[in-house]
C-alpha cells in the first residue's frame, strides 16, 4: 500500500563551522531521504539563532554544542539528544618557540575565541588540571571573539598563544610554519578523566517531532549516520557541498575534515562520555549546563 502520502519536510538547523560538516551529506539528493521525506537544512551563523529557532518550534532537528543541549533541556525546552556527532578537536597552539612545554604557560596571555564557549571551558578545565589558577597564573583573553580572527592573529604572530578548534588548527598550522601544537586538549582530557574523547556536538530532536513523526526518526538518524560516514570517507566531495551551502570554502574544509573528529554515536552509546563531560562541567561552571545534571529523559534512543 505505497500510497502517495504528503511530503514531510524535516527542518534541521546547523551552525556555521565544523559542527555543520557531518550532516552535509543530507543535501546530496536535494535533501530527499526518500520519495516523501525531505530535509531542509538551514545554516545559522551563531548558536543563539539555532537556539532561538529551536525554542520557537521552527526546527525539528539541530546540531548544538553538548552543553547548550543540556542547558536547554534543563530549562524545560522540549528537546532530547539523539546522537553525538562531533568530538573534541581543540588544540593549544603557539607560534612562540620559547614555549615548549605546558609549564611555559605560566603568566602568558592565551587568546580564547568566545567567552563561555567550549574552547573556553576546556581551556579552563585543562589549565586547572595542569595546576594553574586561570584567574591569576595565566591570562585568558577574549577580546577577539571569532575563531577566524584568532587564527588570523596567530598566523600574523600578533598573539602567541591560543586555543583553536578545527578547521582553524589545520589552517593555522599550514599557513605559518612557526605555529606548533602545544597541547592536545583531547589527550589531556582522556588522561584526566580516564574516559574517551569528550562530546562537543550533539544532534537534538524536538519532542514535537518525536510525537508526530516517530516513524521517521530512524530514517533521519540513519541518513545522518550515513552522511557522516560519507563525509569522513570522501572529504573533498563533502567539502564542495560545504562550500555550496555557505559554511566554508572547500579548500579550507577538505583538509580539516579528517581531523574534525566527526563521529556518530547513538545516545545510548554516547551517554557515558556525556555523563563524564557534564559532571566535569558541573563542577566548573554549573550554569553552562543549566544548573543541573541532565536526567535520563535527556537521552532518546530510537
Amino acid at each position: 500500500q505505497e500510497l502517495q502520502r504528503e511530503e514531510v519536510v524535516v527542518k534541521m538547523g546547523v551552525m556555521q563551522g565544523p559542527s555543520g560538516f557531518g550532516t552535509i551529506g543530507l543535501n546530496r539528493n536535494e535533501g530527499y531521504l526518500n520519495s516523501n521525506t525531505r530535509v531542509e537544512m538551514s545554516v545559522y551563523p551563531s548558536p543563539n539563532e539555532v537556539v532561538a529557532r529551536l525554542v520557537n518550534g521552527e526546527l525539528d532537528f539541530a546540531a548544538l554544542p553538548t552543553n547548550s543541549a543540556a542547558n536547554l533541556y534543563a530549562k524545560g525546552v522540549g528537546i532530547k539528544t539523539v546522537a553525538t556527532v562531533g568530538e573534541g578537536m581543540l588544540m593549544f597552539l603557539t607560534n612562540d618557540t620559547s614555549i615548549k612545554n605546558w609549564d611555559d604557560l605560566a603568566n602568558r596571555k592565551i587568546s580564547i575565541p568566545g567567552a563561555g564557549s567550549t574552547p573556553d571551558q576546556m581551556a579552563k578545565i585543562i589549565t586547572t588540571a595542569l595546576g594553574f589558577d586561570y584567574e591569576s597564573d595565566i591570562e585568558l583573553d577574549y577580546s577577539i571573539a571569532a575563531p577566524a580572527q584568532v587564527a588570523q592573529m596567530l598566523i600574523a604572530e600578533k598573539i602567541s598563544l591560543a586555543v583553536l578548534p578545527e578547521p582553524f588548527v589545520t589552517l593555522t598550522l599550514n599557513s605559518n610554519k612557526n605555529v606548533s601544537l602545544l597541547l592536545n586538549i583531547q589527550e589531556l582530557w582522556q588522561a584526566l578523566t580516564g574516559s574517551g574523547n569528550y562530546p562537543m556536538t550533539v544532534i537534538v530532536v524536538s519532542d514535537k517531532f518525536v510525537e508526530n513523526h516517530k516513524e521517521l526518526l530512524p530514517v533521519v538518524m540513519g541518513a545522518i549516520e550515513e552522511s557522516i560516514n560519507w563525509v569522513n570517507s570522501e572529504p573533498s566531495e563533502a567539502a564542495l557541498l560545504i562550500e555550496e551551502v555557505g559554511i566554508m570554502k572547500a579548500a579550507m574544509a577538505a583538509p580539516a575534515i579528517p581531523r574534525a573528529n566527526l563521529v556518530f554515536r547513538r545516545s545510548k552509546e554516547g551517554k557515558e562520555a556525556m555523563d563524564v563531560y557534564f559532571k566535569v562541567l558541573y563542577g566548573f561552571d554549573y550554569t553552562s549546563i543549566g544548573g543541573e545534571l541532565p536526567d535520563e529523559g535527556f537521552y532518546l534512543d530510537y
Binding site: 532561538a52 529557532r53 571569532a146 600574523a156 555557505g246 570554502k249
Partner: protein
C-alpha cells in the same frame, strides 16, 4: 557647508591619498598581509569583487535594506519628532521608548528579532532602533527652534494647518531634517552591514564580509569595506545634491541659516 569648489575638491583628494599612505605605511610596518594587506592588493581585490557576477546582487540587497530602513526611520522619526516637538505629552510618552532605543544593546534585540521576524528583517529592525533616535531628536528639537514671532504671524494671518506646515514648519525644520537624515543614514549603513555580518543573509555586503572573514581573506574584507565606504559617500553626495537641486528645500536650508543670523 557650501558646494565644493575646486580647491576643496583637491583637498579631499589629497587627504584621501594621505589616508591611503597611512594605510600603506601601517601595512608595511605590520608586515602581516593577513591582518592588514597593502593598498595595491586590496584595490586589486576590490576591482575583482566589483567585476564578479553576484556583486550587484549583494550590493542591491544591502542597498535595499539600508534604504528601506532609512525610509521607515525618515517617515516615522520625522512625523513622531514633529508631533513630539509640539506636544509635551507625546514627548513624555515616548521617553521610555526612546530610552529603550538608545540603550538596548542590539545583541539583546537581535535574538527577539530573530523570532518575531524572518531573519531578513533583523537588519531592518536593528537599523531602526539605532537610527530612529537621531532623526526623532533632531526633529523634536527642531520644532523648539521654530521662530516664535513667525509662528505668531501665521496665527494672526490665519494660516490653515496645511499652510502652516508647508510655509512655516517644514521650511524651518529643513536644516534639522537634513542633519537628522544624514545622521540616520550614516548609522543605517553601518548597522545594516553589521547585522548582515551577524545574520548572514543569502546576499548582502555584510554576508560577504563575514564569509571572507571566516576564510581569512583580509583583502576581500577590506575590499567590501571599501564598498561600504563608497556607499556611504554616495549617500552623502545624494544629500548634497538634494541641498542643491530642489530649490525650495535648499533655499529653506540656506534661509534658515540666515534667519538664525538675525540679531536682536
Amino acid at each position: 557647508m557650501k558646494g565644493s569648489t575646486s580647491t576643496t575638491k583637491i583637498i579631499v583628494v589629497l587627504s584621501t591619498l594621505l589616508l591611503l599612505l597611512v594605510w600603506q605605511l601601517g601595512a608595511v610596518l605590520l608586515d602581516a598581509e593577513i591582518i592588514l594587506p597593502r593598498v595595491g592588493p586590496t584595490l586589486a581585490k576590490f576591482v575583482q569583487l566589483v567585476k564578479q557576477p553576484p556583486f550587484s546582487l549583494n550590493l542591491l540587497a544591502t542597498v535595499g535594506r539600508a534604504l528601506k530602513s532609512f525610509l521607515i526611520i525618515f517617515v516615522v522619526g520625522g512625523v513622531l519628532g514633529v508631533l513630539a516637538g509640539y506636544s509635551e505629552k507625546l514627548r513624555a510618552f515616548l521617553v521610555p521608548f526612546l530610552l529603550l532605543c538608545k540603550a538596548t544593546p542590539v545583541m539583546a534585540v537581535i535574538l527577539l528579532a530573530f523570532i518575531w521576524f524572518s531573519s531578513g528583517a533583523v537588519p531592518l529592525f536593528s537599523a531602526f532602533l539605532m537610527g530612529f533616535p537621531a532623526m526623532y531628536i533632531q526633529m523634536a528639537e527642531g520644532v523648539g527652534l521654530i521662530s516664535q514671532p513667525l509662528q505668531e504671524m501665521t496665527q494672526i494671518y490665519r494660516f490653515s494647518k496645511r499652510e502652516r506646515l508647508f510655509h512655516l514648519v517644514i521650511p524651518s525644520l529643513a536644516p534639522s531634517i537634513i542633519t537628522g537624515a544624514k545622521a540616520s543614514l550614516a548609522m543605517v549603513w553601518k548597522v545594516v552591514i553589521a547585522a548582515e555580518v551577524l545574520t548572514v543573509p543569502r546576499y548582502g555586503v555584510g554576508s560577504r564580509m563575514q564569509l571572507a572573514q571566516v576564510h581569512l581573506e583580509t583583502a576581500e574584507v577590506l575590499g567590501w569595506t571599501l564598498i561600504a565606504i563608497l556607499l556611504t559617500a554616495l549617500g552623502d553626495l545624494l544629500f548634497l545634491a538634494i541641498l542643491k537641486l530642489p530649490k525650495k528645500i535648499g533655499q529653506a536650508y540656506r534661509r534658515r541659516r540666515y534667519e538664525a543670523q538675525l540679531p536682536l
